[in-house]
Symmetry: C2
Subunit: 279 residues, 2 copies
């Protein structure tokens, strides 16, 4: 079984068990790069590859990285998918780093590996979440491009630390809140809530959030619920008829409790949200 | 000439031109790791290796990384220094990442390479700096360990983006200011200013700043100036008799202009600061 494959842009497939990155790659020395994660269905189809390639290009531009060729990515991705024979769903991860400190081209590669058990379980069973401050005021990044709001950089140490903090507290995930009390996003997901029959999510641009591919699919789908992009608070989540964290691999995870208290849940709305996101 | 050497903890010296990191190392996928940079003098002595090893251990602990052995680091560092024959000063960089996503030991290595021309020039000639918002309120990290205040994580994308922003604006460096107007730190340095004959620097703990090794050396030295750890503002820098950015490799860089306006400069104090920092 070949359920872990790796390829470099402009090179093609390579052995994933062999080191291919130099120790002085700025991706690891400075977390200086960007990435995307794309779901491979059991049918062999990729979810939203083009929107992910678009977002990768936007992240790279925001980091002043040279552009990479979408056609070359599609060719590499095709080779990875063809070589893969994992039994379940896969995660396609695309990575671009600034390359070596001494200069030269960016480091660009893609890997394909199985979706983790934890993600599948959380997708099925729902999650407990806690709210944590992200420290920044809600609008901090708007006129501060150096803060990289909305850029999917590989500098995810704070996101990972927040998840570890949640796990240590017995919760599964985190909803980040701004210093001034506004809902932001989860460390690796977008927040959506339902109230008065309308699905709502915070506006990514003004709040410096990642522009979620899965929430875009949900909001564009025909599910019979209204949709609204609007600012919110933790109180809105508490009063909601449903809260979900949406992401490209775990897809729809229903938040069953927030800060230890049960959240509202509407089974019919939940089914509609899941269907619209491709579950 | 061997002016670039690399070694892995528990392994020893390896060829720096050969890839040694796997593409799925969490150091590059998530910026999930920590680092230190230590100056190697032309005399072959390292500046403050023990405080840097201590800080690396504190960063690793804050990231829930398993501890590494200081004695093993010293042995590896000794081998690197012995193998190096660069003509000038060197940068010793120590890196620890979480290792592979599938689990296993952390990735831990050290490299030794020449100090860059730019850093030597800025040390000699001084720098222009601009102030930029760090987005966070000054005390945001105190009760929020997941924000990793004071942790030298490899997730430096925002620091690097801020430096690129400064360079594009024609400046050399950045002084970060909190959302509520307090002086924080530079992307890779500590801020020090002189007023009323006293050297001053913001308190690292309460503000979530990196606990600077070089500023500690300065504050402990016998330079005839007073020292005070205290909060400050941009106005304090404007009114100061001298402003410096201190870091382990560039050491003392005098800030000659801030946001386009000349800053105060006291040649005698500058000489004392430089001497105390080992220049």
């Amino acid at each position: 079984m070949t359920d872990r494959v790796l390829g470099f842009l402009g090179v093609g497939l390579v052995d994933p068990d062999v080191p291919h990155l130099r120790a002085d790659d700025l991706g690891v020395l400075r977390g200086d790069g960007c990435f995307e994660s794309v779901r491979l269905r059991t049918t062999g189809e990729l979810d939203d590859l083009d929107p992910h390639l678009d977002r990768l290009a936007r992240s790279a531009a925001a980091l002043d990285l040279p552009p990479t060729d979408p056609a070359a990515w599609r060719e590499l991705v095709g080779a990875l998918v063809a070589a893969w024979d994992g039994p379940g769903e896969g995660v396609l991860r695309l990575v671009v780093t600034r390359g070596l400190a001494e200069g030269g081209p960016p480091t660009a590669y893609a890997q394909l590996f199985p979706v983790g058990e934890r993600q599948l379980r959380e997708r099925r069973d729902g999650i407990s979440a806690i709210t944590l401050s992200r420290g920044l005021t809600a609008d901090a990044t708007v006129e501060a491009p150096w803060l990289l709001g909305g850029v999917k950089a590989v500098s995810y140490a704070v996101n990972m630390a927040a998840l570890r903090y949640a796990h240590a507290a017995g919760a599964d995930d985190v909803v980040f809140v701004s210093a001034d009390g506004q809902l932001l996003e989860a460390p690796t997901a977008t927040v959506v809530w339902l109230s008065e029959g309308v699905l709502r999510t915070p506006p990514p641009g003004p709040l410096g959030l990642l522009d979620g591919v899965t929430v875009r699919r949900l909001f564009a789908a025909d599910h019979g619920l209204g949709t609204e992009t609007q600012r919110g608070t933790v109180e809105d989540l508490r009063a909601a008829d449903g809260v979900w964290l949406l992401s490209s691999i775990r897809l729809v995870a229903a938040v069953t409790s927030l800060d230890g208290k049960p959240t509202g849940f509407d089974p019919e709305a939940d089914a509609r949200v899941r269907a619209a996101c491709g579950q």
